[in-house]
Symmetry: C2
Subunit: 298 residues, 2 copies
């Protein structure tokens, strides 16, 4: 199997994690982001600019972002569902934004309240706005490996969105395993179908236990960028009680033992996972948090 020397991780607990938890205080969000900024992570998805009525967890996004420490070596990003959200992110000072679109029509309707075509139609304006403000813009394609409403998603449908996004001027693509439907087969089939020069990132949920197997498959295919959430923070709104994002410390723990560099201090990261657990007030489902690393860390 092929493996790279280095993997780049984006930490998504402050946004994707906390967005799927009962609301926590602004102060706790700031504490979490500041703690993550001291672990060696190079990318952090900090907040989202979404409708506060739909997602009260992120209503204080601008306030959180204004207060956190900004480390020069870290790329902080904000997620937005549309042009308006991207504008708010840029107004708040972000230079990296992510716009989310679903490969599945019904999930796009449920998630951002419009058709896939309507989401795509806004991409050129989003890209122009980002360009005018010297910001990078990534398209996150949710339900890339399957949809809780529609079932399997044809890899060709995902590839068409990649093509349209590339055409519109998007800088990067992320494939979201929104409800943990990916398997090694789905990862391979998606990568077989997609043809782009843009940097690709994969975002796996561990809903059905296969997140690290999927990550390994993606590594073998040359993907070197992944999302992960400290403590596995976040859930899956379509599978109550099920685990959500793959835990960053489980990813780092495995990659480091394989000799793959992430730049992350695993001991510090486990400390932040414990902090995240305190903040949300429930036991998080991270094996490395519970059992510790396989051997003591130096």
């Amino acid at each position: 199997m092929h493996q790279p020397d280095r993997v780049s991780l984006r930490e998504v607990a402050p946004r994707d994690g906390l967005q799927n938890e009962p609301p926590v205080s602004t102060q706790d969000k700031i504490r979490l982001i500041d703690a993550l900024s001291r672990t060696g992570l190079s990318r952090i998805e900090a907040v989202s600019f979404v409708n506060p009525k739909a997602v009260p967890q992120m209503a204080d996004a601008a306030e959180v972002w204004a207060a956190v420490e900004k480390h020069p070596g870290i790329r902080y990003s904000a997620l937005a569902p549309n042009l308006k959200g991207v504008q708010r992110a840029i107004d708040a000072g972000f230079t990296a934004v992510e716009v989310v679109i679903s490969a599945s029509e019904s999930h796009n309707q449920a998630n951002v309240g419009r058709s896939v075509a309507d989401s795509l139609a806004e991409f050129p304006d989003i890209c122009a706005l980002a360009r005018d403000n010297l910001a990078g813009v990534e398209a996150i394609i949710a339900t890339s490996f399957g949809c809780p409403f529609e079932g399997d998603i044809a890899p060709g449908a995902v590839a068409e969105i990649v093509d349209a996004a590339t055409e519109a001027g998007i800088d990067r693509i992320a494939f979201g395993d929104t409800t943990g439907m990916a398997t090694p087969r789905r990862v391979n089939e998606l990568l077989d179908a997609v043809d782009t020069e843009l940097p690709l990132l994969m975002h796996f949920h561990n809903t059905r236990g296969a997140a690290l197997a999927n990550l390994l498959t993606a590594l073998d295919r040359g993907v070197t960028e992944f999302d992960a959430s400290v403590g596995g923070l976040g859930g899956c709104p379509f599978a109550p009680g099920a685990s959500g994002n793959v835990a960053t410390e489980e990813v780092v723990h495995m990659l480091h033992d394989m000799g793959i560099d992430t730049g992350v201090d695993l001991a510090a990261l486990i400390g932040v996972a414990a902090l995240a657990q305190d903040i949300v007030g429930r036991e998080l489902e991270s094996g490395v948090l519970r059992a510790g690393p396989r051997t003591p860390l130096k």
Copy 2:
């Protein structure tokens, strides 16, 4: 990545699972084994013959075995720590036995109360006894990927046990990831070091989230036999609260989506995972049990 057409699973919940839980009734053990026998599984580790003072959970092993339905297509096995236990298993009517030995000196002392050399010295007598009774005998090498007391285990030390076991007349080898210390790197290094014609099986724990990634690595290296435990039943005595064995339904779910046959009816298996959960009276940590399969089963 290489993948086989078919994988053979051995279900270990009745033994390895229940041995790490507070004792359950004889009747519940029989119910669990009988339910497993109807899922299409071809191998079930039913009980162990160990010191009932050390492992009260298995004190009724002969009684359980006498009462369960024996399906002709299923290979049922019993685990034993020594010659005496193998004799008891054979006396009870088993034609497949597993003798456990640790790659780590201190774990062998903790687990079976003697040195690795003393365990190995009994292997020829165990093999002769099995042969005389037309029984197959497998050596399970615990702590093959790391030891909670000693840390990393040299793959060469595991290979030496494989050689000694082969020499003694053992029929099959299993590598136990006793406390979830395996990673894809450790799987590869172990398979690089071992040189044998005997059938190999791997037994992964999901303590640190990497069980399915390890399984995928082993598949790529040609291993096609794995242990798994329905509902992920069982724990890890050295990591309280941590998850134990990889859940059989998570393994089957991933393999089937990859087009790899296991012979198992996934819907029936999930039903048995729910039964196992009822029997032990705590929520089991199986994503497929909690969230269901990625798409509805036919």
